[in-house]
């Protein structure tokens, strides 16, 4: 299966007021295969959103890329100019954001805002063709009565409907990759179920990257899971591997901390402390201060990424059954600065 997006030892950080660079994303390696859905999970401050914004080339101005590549169909997105990126954004790779309430312009009709994407990417299209296309797209995402709805404004739509409008806008150019950044977080469960159902159907036409803190959402639609902690990929593997056989102490803690429908009323497992700030990252393993299995070696040495069975990777000093060293992930710890 061919890789649509491949992160190769990608690192980025932020420049602070003093001009120093604090590294956030460190040596990120994972790929998104064609027609598959990848879930990127972790708590806030773990660099999930920066990962997705890196693909789009929409990083904030204080961000500094420190090395590595993000390959899209084999070419490096980081080397592309702004004009080249504009052609990719929206057309090849599209993104849905968290807040459907703020992502739409309140003074323009829904129809205009969706059609605008087509107008920019296909300037030769006729006005009536655009309208037809927009109505078709609205119908596809399950908005009733689309002929009338195209002329309405965002305030006339409910939260769930606005998120559908956002999805319609993202899909109108039939992108190869759709990035959903906490796209269902602000929605009620019943509406979330509707949107997840819709996103599941999208997989037939392209790849999906789902950025979320909700492991339930990942279990629902993803084939592969990437677990991030404080800017590093601590574990990745197939959905089965991560959910049924999690290895990294962080992944295991995360899963034990979530109350589920089957959990008893015993005390919940907790990971002590919180995700550290970017200035407070440890030199070695960034999970070190919160880890209950920590070893002496963890404090000052970046843990190696080890390959377990079936493309299941763990970045940890602990020893696991069937592990083998993985050179792809470890050979270039050569960030320009730290």
């Amino acid at each position: 299966m061919s890789k649509l997006i491949e992160f190769k030892n990608y690192s980025m950080g932020f420049r602070n007021e003093k001009g120093q660079i604090n590294n956030l994303l460190d040596n990120i390696c994972f790929s998104i295969e064609e027609g598959k859905a990848v879930g990127v999970v972790g708590e806030s401050g773990c660099g999930k959103s920066m990962t997705s914004l890196s693909i789009m080339g929409l990083l904030p101005t204080s961000a500094v890329i420190q090395g590595g590549e993000i390959l899209y169909k084999g070419t490096d997105l980081l080397k592309k100019s702004e004009i080249e990126m504009q052609k990719i954004r929206g057309r090849e790779i599209a993104m849905i954001f968290q807040e459907p309430m703020t992502a739409l312009n309140p003074v323009l009709t829904i129809g205009f805002q969706i059609g605008e994407v087509l107008k920019i990417h296909f300037p030769n299209l006729k006005e009536e063709d655009i309208k037809k296309e927009v109505i078709q797209q609205l119908e596809l995402v399950g908005i009733p009565n689309p002929e009338a709805r195209v002329n309405q404004y965002p305030h006339q739509f409910s939260g769930g409907m606005r998120q559908r409008v956002m999805i319609a806008m993202a899909l109108i150019c039939k992108p190869k990759l759709l990035i959903a950044d906490e796209a269902t977080t602000a929605l009620d469960v019943t509406i979330q179920a509707q949107v997840l159902d819709l996103m599941k159907r999208l997989k037939e036409n392209g790849s999906l990257m789902v950025v979320t803190h909700n492991l339930g959402v990942v279990a629902e639609i993803c084939d592969k899971v990437v677990v991030m902690y404080a800017g590093r990929v601590v574990e990745q593997g197939s959905l089965e591997a991560i959910l049924e056989n999690p290895k990294h102490p962080y992944t295991r803690g995360l899963m034990a901390a979530i109350p589920t429908m089957v959990s008893s009323d015993k005390e919940l497992y907790t990971i002590p402390g919180t995700v550290p700030n970017i200035e407070d990252f440890e030199k070695g393993c960034r999970f070190f201060p919160r880890c209950e299995y920590r070893l002496d070696i963890c404090k000052d040495n970046i843990p190696p990424t080890k390959r377990l069975m079936n493309n299941h990777y763990v970045q940890c000093w602990l020893e696991f059954e069937g592990e083998e060293a993985n050179d792809d992930f470890n050979n270039s710890q050569s960030r320009k600065s730290d």
Partner: protein, 329 residues
């Protein structure tokens, strides 16, 4: 036998949208005819989508807004509505923890002073040093260090701020704590810490909780009984165990089936409700859930169902649920 600590009788709140000339006045039917009893030392969970009236109900109980009708009775005393004196002894026994730990603390007030404020206002303790040691005791109870007294809110993480919010609510030594989406804004690892804290405090201080949330698995974890609300009405109310093992109301069934489960097993049959929660300005006639119900019949659109006790302690509002087995007609 545990005693009833709080009793809510036919509580109703309509928000007036203002009258236009020659037009009938419009009301938001936020809470309609809600009655329940809260038992000493239990945790009552309230779930429902946004717009179902959960927060309005909490505000009505606290007396922050005036109800349109109905009564709130706390330990046999009527405490309905806005109290003339906010220093009323009864009202301070019911306290609230709010959703947003970022918005509910004043950034320019040291957290120690923020916790001390209600103690001073209610004159619970007098004397500078006594107040300070009380605040330090509260900080310890919620799992913060007493040295944090001097710090400002921006120095705290979301979970720590929520602990400050809890300490502040506890400063008046309440019997009943209303938690309105108190863990919704927190990350999962922090959420687990705060949920455990709630459970510890319950035992330690003999508290009674009303726990409002939209995440059913969280509410199930913490609650003894759960009340499901939809458009201002109670749809189903039962002990947590019964609610999940013997789900009777179609809305509760849909709500439970909509939760994405962390499992790789083939997903259970999912009930996907169509559309959104209708506007509470013109709630549907008959059963309020009739516009989205997958079991809807003609009678649902015409006749308003009553809340019935179909089994001991298990209340359901549906035309098609009757008798002990919960299946009828």
């Amino acid at each position: 036998m545990t005693s009833t600590i709080l009793k809510v009788e036919n509580l109703t709140k309509y928000f007036d949208l203002g009258t236009k000339w020659l037009q009938p006045s419009k009301y938001v039917h936020a809470v309609e005819n809600v009655s329940f009893e809260l038992l000493q030392s239990e945790t009552l969970g309230i779930v429902g989508e946004s717009g179902s009236g959960k927060s309005t109900l909490a505000r009505l109980i606290l007396g922050l807004i005036e109800p349109t009708g109905g009564k709130v009775i706390y330990k046999d005393k009527d405490i309905t509505g806005w109290q003339k004196s906010t220093l009323n002894k009864v009202s301070r026994e019911i306290q609230m923890v709010f959703q947003d730990p970022y918005a509910s603390l004043n950034p320019r007030i040291k957290i120690g002073d923020a916790i001390a404020e209600p103690i001073i206002a209610h004159k619970i303790i007098k004397g500078q040093s006594e107040i300070r040691s009380e605040v330090e005791r509260l900080l310890k109870i919620v799992g913060l260090q007493p040295e944090m007294y001097e710090r400002y809110p921006h120095e705290f993480s979301g979970g720590q701020r929520q602990r400050v919010g809890i300490a502040r609510a506890l400063s008046l030594r309440p019997n009943v704590l209303i938690c309105d989406e108190a863990v919704s804004a927190l990350d999962v690892s922090v959420q687990a810490q705060v949920l455990n804290l709630f459970n510890h405090l319950k035992k330690q201080l003999n508290l009674t909780y009303i726990f409002i949330g939209h995440d059913l698995s969280v509410v199930k974890y913490i609650s003894n009984r759960i009340m499901v609300m939809y458009l201002g009405e109670i749809m189903e109310m039962a002990p947590s165990k019964f609610l999940f093992e013997n789900t009777l109301h179609p809305y509760t069934q849909a709500l439970i089936s909509a939760i994405p489960e962390i499992t790789t097993k083939a997903s259970k049959k999912r009930i996907i409700l169509e559309g959104d929660i209708p506007s509470p300005v013109n709630p549907p006639s008959g059963c309020r859930f009739s516009t989205r119900c997958f079991k809807v019949q003609d009678i649902c659109k015409e006749k308003h169902p009553e809340l019935k006790e179909v089994m001991p302690n298990h209340y359901v509002r549906c035309h098609f649920i009757e008798g002990s087995q919960g299946r009828g007609e």
